[in-house]
């Protein structure tokens, strides 16, 4: 518990193993409902739906429900592996640390980079979505539709987005956290509004006032009816994104009142809640708007970036402002909490000498990863400015690139689990399934999706159809980020070679 003055001074050189701390979280604070709220808030369904529904429809059309269901499978498989790794080596560096321990420094570095890139991309997308709905809400509030168009004013849009990013960064830097009450309210409100949207859309269909009433067909649930493997792969990598964050429920242990049972139950309940809400909203959207490429159609490229921004008004009428509020609040809350992820991974990489020392700094006043948090904000801001300037539909393209990036680092993480636990793979049914088979399947599926999407995205017509030098913008963004990571890795290997010689994080058990 405490160290005598004299002994502490004597032991000043051996900085490890302090024994100073009363270690650990105060157990038992989170029950089943709390854990489900945490899970749902990490997924942020209102935000993921508005961001991913359009791009997914553009890939798979009416088979959206099928893809949303299928997309959960690799997430589930990978999450099993994630949980095993987290139990064996709990570390803030997650994918970075685990992949380094399994495959050595180079793949580990790239795994960490993939995680950081994915979270940076989602930060910029979250901020952009928040800004869209911020202006939309202003328009709805003052009954002046021109206000909503302010978000299409490029300089104003970029400036507002940067302000949102800076604010969230500041809150995160100060170590402020969303409280339990706020999180409960946000989650309940999101689910309520999404439910309202679905009911309103279905009643329009029933009353014959829908934009393009489309009868729900069993075929919509058949993933094999998707016309091509390319569309299937793109759809799955997008739907990975909509379940991203669900794995958090599985990795909660000490925080829960009953660590044996709560995480598993919470994960199950969370995914049921999420699948029900996704299915209802997806079906109601398709039934109301169809997949046509004109007007309100879910296939209209104009609507892809943020589907609810377009549909909430016609569907919910004057209550559309609730949707704006739900998405604005959930994306703002996610924006702030998501800052924690890249910051902690960067911190961990700094700590293990895979990045310059200053990334490992912890603020003495706020106890947050100070340098890493600011670095994440700068990166998210730069990424947004670049995408917004280059792309005709930045939201759409970033979400597609993001899906790719998640497949990349989750794939590496899952295979890291298989390799790390290879000695135990056949030591029992439980180990075989959770440490070997599930992560192996999940990892392979995700990496196949990654390579397929990456290959397809070279087509200049891919995604929103933006391109640079004859290559699709999604490819440029995705591969550019990975390439940038590889270059930085080589520079780091020159500057701080210890990590890359495997002297800091050793392989194996």
């Amino acid at each position: 518990m405490s160290t005598e003055h004299a002994t502490a001074k004597a032991a000043a050189h051996s900085k490890q193993d302090h024994g100073l701390s009363e270690k650990g979280l105060k157990a038992g604070s989170v029950g089943l409902i709390g854990a489900v709220v945490i899970g749902v808030s990490c997924i942020a369904p209102a935000y993921t739906l508005t961001a991913a529904l359009g791009p997914t429809v553009s890939e798979v059309g009416v088979h959206l429900p099928a893809i949303f269901l299928v997309g959960f499978l690799p997430m589930l498989l990978v999450a099993f592996g994630y949980r095993e790794l987290n139990n064996a080596m709990p570390d803030a560096g997650t994918s970075f640390t685990w992949a380094s321990r399994a495959f050595g420094p180079w793949i580990g570095w790239m795994g960490g980079w993939g995680l950081i890139a994915a979270t940076i991309i989602v930060l910029s997308n979250l901020a952009a979505v928040a800004v869209d709905f911020f202006y939309l809400m202003l328009a709805q509030l003052f009954g002046n539709p021109e206000l909503a168009d302010l978000t299409t004013n490029l300089p104003l849009n970029i400036a507002t987005t940067l302000v949102f990013i800076a604010l969230a960064c500041w809150i995160s830097y100060r170590g402020m956290e969303t409280t339990k009450t706020v999180q409960y309210v946000l989650v309940a409100f999101q689910l309520l509004v999404l439910g309202w949207f679905a009911v309103a859309a279905f009643s329009h269909v029933a009353n014959g006032t829908a934009f393009d009433a489309t009868a729900i067909a069993p075929d919509w649930f058949n993933p094999f009816a998707v016309e091509s493997f390319s569309a299937f792969a793109a759809g799955v990598s997008l739907s990975i994104f909509i379940y991203w964050g669900w794995d958090v429920t599985l990795t909660m242990n000490e925080e829960t009142r009953n660590p044996e049972k709560t995480p598993g139950r919470a994960a199950t309940v969370t995914v049921l809640v999420i699948v029900i809400i996704y299915m209802t909203v997806a079906l109601s959207t398709l039934a109301f708007a169809g997949v046509g490429t004109e007007g309100l159609g879910a296939g209209n490229p104009e609507n892809q970036g943020s589907i609810f921004a377009v549909l909430a008004g016609p569907v919910m009428g004057p209550f559309a402002i609730l949707m704006s509020l739900a998405i604005l609040s959930s994306s703002a809350a996610s924006l702030q909490s998501t800052f924690v992820s890249p910051a902690r991974t960067l911190l961990s990489m700094g700590h293990y000498k895979a990045l310059p020392h200053k990334f490992g700094k912890i603020s003495p006043s706020y106890k947050s990863p100070s340098y890493a948090t600011i670095a994440s904000a700068v990166a998210a801001a730069v990424f947004y400015v670049v995408t917004r300037t280059l792309s005709e539909n930045a939201l759409w393209d970033t979400i597609t690139a993001l899906g790719m990036m998640i497949c990349f680092y989750y794939g590496i993480t899952a295979l890291a689990c298989v390799w790390f636990f290879r000695a135990q793979a056949f030591s029992g049914a439980h180990s075989f399934f959770f440490k070997f088979l599930a992560p192996l399947l999940g990892g392979v599926i995700l990496l196949v999706m990654f390579f397929k999407t990456a290959y397809d995205s070279m087509d200049p017509e891919y995604g929103s159809g933006s391109s640079v030098g004859g290559l699709g913008l999604v490819f440029i963004l995705g591969m550019g980020v990975i390439l940038l990571g590889a270059v930085l890795m080589l520079i780091m290997a020159k500057l701080r070679p210890e990590f890359f010689k495997g002297q800091v994080l050793t392989r194996g058990n």
């Binding site: 160290t3 003055h5 979280l25 987290n86 709990p90 999180q183 925080e255 924690v340 961990s348 106890k367």
Partner: protein, 304 residues
């Protein structure tokens, strides 16, 4: 005697350590350095498990404490602790309970550029909830020798007796002179009359607080009574002369919950103008110890 020091690895933390060394030296107290780290809030979960970050924080806090212990001279016994809780203030208050501390010492400043005391958020939270006297080190406090004088800021409100008791015994035990300070904000016109009234009030209470047998408490008999006037409290504070080794004691506002500190607006303004450290004593703090210990030993801080 144990003092808890709320340490952070920055200038504010070093101010606190210097003040703690100074206070401990006059009294032979031991120090418990505490770094407060936040509990990982599960409701802020993102794509990074909390457990891993926690271990980095503990390790970092341990390194900070090593540095802090190295700042403390060998004649002052000190221990280091890492404690976690929902807020820094709450954590420090719990640490005071755990170690049965007689005082909590913190650096009070945030990055105040123009004022010596710009109360930081942790300090301000502590002043609203602490149940032990809280010593606030001003920005850039570097003195580490024992105190040379105790000042006691006296208001006209109830509770002055207990504060004076505390001040008298603190001065007696540390063998330093006591000065009773009345801060008046006045227009020039009626100042003399008010000053006389304040002086009379202070003298009356001082007489009651001083040990009846003053032969055994020679230093305390040297108590001065000073009335400082100014258009504002800040001006009154500025007009007083302050020794380098001085400390100002003030009582918390009577708005406070029993036995906890609530800094009144006057005290807050004093804090902003004051060049020396200040100790804020909770409203009923003395009473509790008075009931347990006889005669004029009014608190453990005051015990011989």
């Amino acid at each position: 005697m144990r003092y808890v020091v709320g340490y952070s690895a920055n200038a504010r933390g070093r101010d606190a350590v210097n003040l703690a060394v100074s206070l401990a030296r006059g009294r032979g107290a031991s120090l418990d350095l505490v770094v407060a780290i936040p509990d990982a809030g599960p409701f802020n979960a993102a794509h990074a498990p909390a457990a891993g970050y926690d271990s980095y924080l503990h390790q970092q806090a341990g390194e900070w404490l090593d540095e802090a212990l190295a700042l403390i001279p060998a004649d002052v016994p000190a221990k280091a602790h890492v404690r976690s809780g929902e807020s820094d203030a709450q954590t420090l208050i719990e640490a005071c309970d755990e170690f049965q501390a007689d005082m909590l010492i913190i650096g009070a400043t945030s990055s105040g550029l123009f004022k010596r005391f710009t109360v930081g958020s942790v300090a301000s939270a502590l002043l609203h909830a602490a149940t032990v006297p809280v010593a606030l080190a001003p920005h850039g406090y570097h003195r580490r020798d024992a105190l040379t004088r105790v000042s006691c800021g006296l208001g006209s409100r109830a509770g002055a007796e207990k504060l004076l008791d505390f001040a008298v015994s603190m001065a007696v035990n540390r063998e330093v002179p006591l000065r009773v300070v009345s801060l008046l904000t006045l227009d020039a016109g009626d100042s003399d009359e008010a000053a006389d009234a304040a002086r009379e009030y202070a003298n009356k209470h001082l007489a009651a607080a001083l040990p009846a047998d003053s032969s055994g408490a020679a230093p305390a008999a040297k108590a001065d009574v000073v009335v400082a006037q100014g258009r504002s409290v800040e001006e009154a504070v500025d007009r007083l002369d302050w020794e380098d080794g001085e400390i100002l004691l003030i009582g918390s506002s009577r708005l406070a919950r029993s036995r906890s500190i609530f800094l009144g607006s006057t005290a807050n303004r004093i804090l902003r103008a004051l060049p020396v450290p200040m100790i804020v004593v909770p409203s009923d703090y003395e009473l509790k110890h008075l009931n347990q210990s006889p005669s004029s030993d009014t608190s453990r801080e005051a015990q011989a």
